[in-house]
């Protein structure tokens, strides 16, 4: 029994030593740590194959790519730092940037008024519009305006402004918010919901990778009423972040045409298009 105890203790100490040495946490000054979900194509996603445009996910788990990753790369290059992608849950992004675990959030996050109370935002790096993703064979595939969605079961991602605009549909049956886009796609395909709110690029991605889905784009004036801040996406940083003006300079150097081109490249590149 004594020998076993000693052996166990040795094993514990050895393994703890290995474990403890892995607490190498601590961002060095030359790193630009960016938090993303890596689960919101075409803004950011995870893939297993490396390519010229991918960035390894910190801590293992594949490679990240997408529009947000490319923007992050441009910013990191402009700041002269190494880009490190930290995959984080959506709800953990703002706590992570405020606690200093990451330097910036570049995750398709909109600079809403509520978020501005906790973090600072850069200038906009993409402007989008809201659409609703639906099943091709569903009752709402040929809808054209908000009123056509009366009686539909609609949801959106938790803790996003997408969820707040659902009330604009008269007679909608609003469902509980879901925590990720893949979860909503699965719910839509199985019939649990009739549609979910999405930004246009993400809806294009979803329809490309799931042939049974399509999206409803609204004509000028018959869509959702939103403020410009709500349909744009910006980089979120801790309040008082020193390099915010530099980030804005770098973003200003990316023209509107560049942005559109980068986005369509990202849509074409995402994994499910193989």
């Amino acid at each position: 029994m004594k020998k076993i105890t000693v052996l166990l203790l040795v094993i514990v100490l050895a393994v703890s030593a290995i474990g403890l040495t892995s607490c190498s946490g601590g961002s060095s000054a030359g790193e630009f740590r960016v938090g993303l979900e890596c689960n919101y194509a075409p803004f950011n996603w995870t893939q297993t194959e490396e390519s010229d445009l991918t960035v390894p996910i910190d801590g293992g788990g594949g490679y990240a790519d997408g529009y947000d990753v490319q923007i992050a790369q441009k910013i990191a290059d402009g700041l002269g730092k190494k880009l490190v992608i930290v995959k984080t849950e959506w709800d953990g992004l703002i706590p992570a940037v405020n606690s200093g675990k990451i330097d910036a959030v570049i995750a398709g996050m909109s600079p809403t008024a509520e978020r501005k109370e906790s973090v600072d935002f850069s200038d906009v790096y993409y402007v989008s519009e809201l659409v609703i993703v639906v099943r091709k064979d569903g009752a709402f595939a040929s809808a054209a305006s908000l009123s056509d969605f009366a009686g539909a079961k609609i949801t959106a991602q938790l803790n996003t402004f997408h969820y707040t605009v659902i009330d604009q549909i008269q007679g909608v049956e609003i469902q509980t918010a879901m925590d990720t886009f893949p979860a909503m796609i699965v719910a839509l395909q199985s019939g649990k919901i009739d549609g979910y709110i999405s930004e246009l690029p993400s809806a294009i991605s979803a329809a490309a990778s799931n042939p049974d889905l399509t999206y409803v784009k609204f004509a000028e004036g018959s869509g959702f009423e939103t403020s410009p801040d709500d349909v744009a996406v910006s980089v979120a940083v801790k309040k008082g972040y020193a390099d915010l003006s530099k980030i804005n300079e770098i973003l200003a150097g990316i023209s509107a045409d560049d942005r559109i081109a980068m986005m369509s490249d990202a849509v074409a590149r995402q994994p499910v298009n193989e």
Binding site: V12, N39, G59, V272
Partner: protein, 252 residues
């Protein structure tokens, strides 16, 4: 792209096979180390809580012991009374923000599982110590052993044998509960599964694979622990009256 369920399973195993294995390895690492360290914490707490206090003890010893016991009870109640997922968020982000202590996710995972397990196992160990016949302690004291000697040479070996099933239980629970640590970006099995499911939008297929992997891990561990228990029992010629066979008819 595959069409059938098994087609998708094969495709996902092909693409993500290595990452599933890495995730499983991380899960086992944090579960094993976390449970072992938690067990050590539980042992120490169990011993401290059963230190005998009688009229002959000095006042200082009584006061110190009472304070230490109060602190330990607070620790146990807090870490048993809050979900591990909440503890993970509080410790991981709180440490960085207020203590400027940047932990790596894996270290944070081991830390959180250890103190959570320690709280549960402290009570399990205390139960094990109480279940050892009082005659053992009395006999040890009567031949002049100190409390520490009694504990380490007489009581604890028997107590640990008694609580082996509960320890195994806690270990298996930790293997599964390590999945909640995905919220602090630990790249364990559940985190990898969410990545794969998110990339290909295939929840059922991915999580069926994950389910199978968790089952294999926990089943293997249960069987290994059962074999270890049998070995700990030794040859049955020397069974003490207080030990019963774990399988079959218990005999006196």
């Amino acid at each position: 792209m595959p069409d059938t369920f098994f087609g998708w399973v094969g495709f996902l195993l092909d693409k993500y096979g290595i990452m599933f294995l890495q995730g499983a390895a991380t899960t086992m690492l944090i579960a094993v180390v976390g449970t072992l360290i938690g067990f050590m914490i539980g042992l120490v707490i169990g011993i401290v809580r059963t230190v005998p206090l009688d009229e002959n003890s000095s006042l200082i010893k009584k006061i110190v012991l009472k304070i230490v016991r109060a602190i330990l009870i607070a620790y146990i109640e807090f870490f048993r009374g809050t979900p591990m997922i909440v503890q993970a968020m509080v410790i991981y982000y709180g440490a960085m923000q207020y203590l400027s202590w940047d932990m790596s996710p894996t270290f944070a995972a081991i830390f959180i599982i250890s103190i959570n397990t320690g709280a549960y196992l402290a009570e399990v160990v205390r139960g094990g110590i109480i279940s050892v016949d009082k005659g053992q302690t009395e006999a040890a004291h009567s031949i002049g052993m100190t409390h520490w000697q009694t504990m380490t040479s007489v009581v604890l070996p028997q107590a640990i044998r008694n609580i082996m099933p509960a320890l195994g239980n806690e270990f298996v629970i930790n293997i599964k509960d390590s999945s909640v640590l995905n919220v602090i970006s630990v790249t364990e099995l559940f985190f990898i599964s969410k990545s794969a499911a998110g990339t290909y939008m295939k929840y059922f297929e991915v999580f069926a694979i994950t389910c199978a992997i968790y089952f294999v891990l926990t089943f293997a561990v249960t069987r290994i622990l059962l074999a270890f228990e049998k070995k700990m029992d030794g040859p049955s010629n020397y069974d003490m009256y207080s030990l019963e066979e774990t399988e079959g008819i218990g005999h006196v």
